[in-house]
Symmetry: C2
Subunit: 158 residues, 2 copies
């Protein structure tokens, strides 16, 4: 388990999807505009998220992405795993090339530690993140802007 900015991008994008994807699919262009992540980079992330069965896609105009499952069933650890494609962590993969046996010692420990972090992040769902108070207030701000959002989007495209 690594914890990089790429993972943050992915969680951010999935959270955007969780907030805005109630009825219709959400286009990457929308997420790109809101979260200021480059479109092509999002495409690469979502290719991985799709392979990880976390989102489904709808092609053609009006298309976009949907969460593959309900928000309480998608967990932060899954998102990070999907985009980070597991590092094997140890250079002594399996057995054999550990020089003393001591090398493996801390390797196992670190592995154990990252498993604990993984377990921790496996308990936090998108639903929980969305339900936090600070999100709620920000979302109400956003829906206040809702009426003029389309206009703004068009204006921003030019």
């Amino acid at each position: 388990m690594k914890l990089t900015t790429r993972g943050r991008y992915a969680v951010t994008a999935m959270l955007d999807l969780a907030i805005h994807g109630d009825d219709r699919p959400v286009s990457l262009a929308d997420i790109s505009g809101r979260q200021e992540i480059s479109l092509s980079y999002l495409e690469q992330l979502f290719a991985k998220l799709r392979r990880g069965a976390l989102v489904t896609s709808v092609r053609g105009p009006g298309g976009g992405y949907r969460l593959a499952r309900a928000r309480p069933q998608i967990f932060v650890a899954e998102i990070i795993d999907a985009v980070d494609e597991s590092v094997d962590a140890t250079n002594c993969s399996g057995k054999g090339n550990c020089h003393h046996g001591e090398v493996c010692l801390t390797h196992h420990l670190w592995q154990d530690l990252s498993e604990q972090i993984h377990g921790f992040l496996s308990q936090i769902s998108l639903a929980e993140l969305v339900d936090r108070r600070d999100v709620q207030s920000a979302v109400s701000q956003q829906s206040a802007r809702g009426s003029r959002s389309l206009q703004n989007l068009i204006a921003q495209q030019l």
Copy 2:
């Protein structure tokens, strides 16, 4: 809070110090040999660990590093913080340049999340790591090697 290989190196090295540093200070050359981390890289890490008041140094022959505190008082989060020098995480540091207010939304969330991870790692001490069963068995292996360790070290130097 990031979770990179550099953090792993630091935790590994500190754990090595916790295991081998009971009586005399431990030289970086020893840690380098046992954990297979380059000496100069270790020097850079320990410079940061020293600045972070996690270790103290003893110069001259027979010198090395000691833990600055007892093992139950040194926590994994501190080690990672010391070597990773906090990323400011958000590009909208403070207020102002967030375009919609929505940008900050997920930024705050991610920050919140990494604080939770930080809190989690703040509860795991070096003592706890050392006391785990898999470490214990590995340590007994190591002390079985203890009688010939000096010979081996000299042989390895050549």
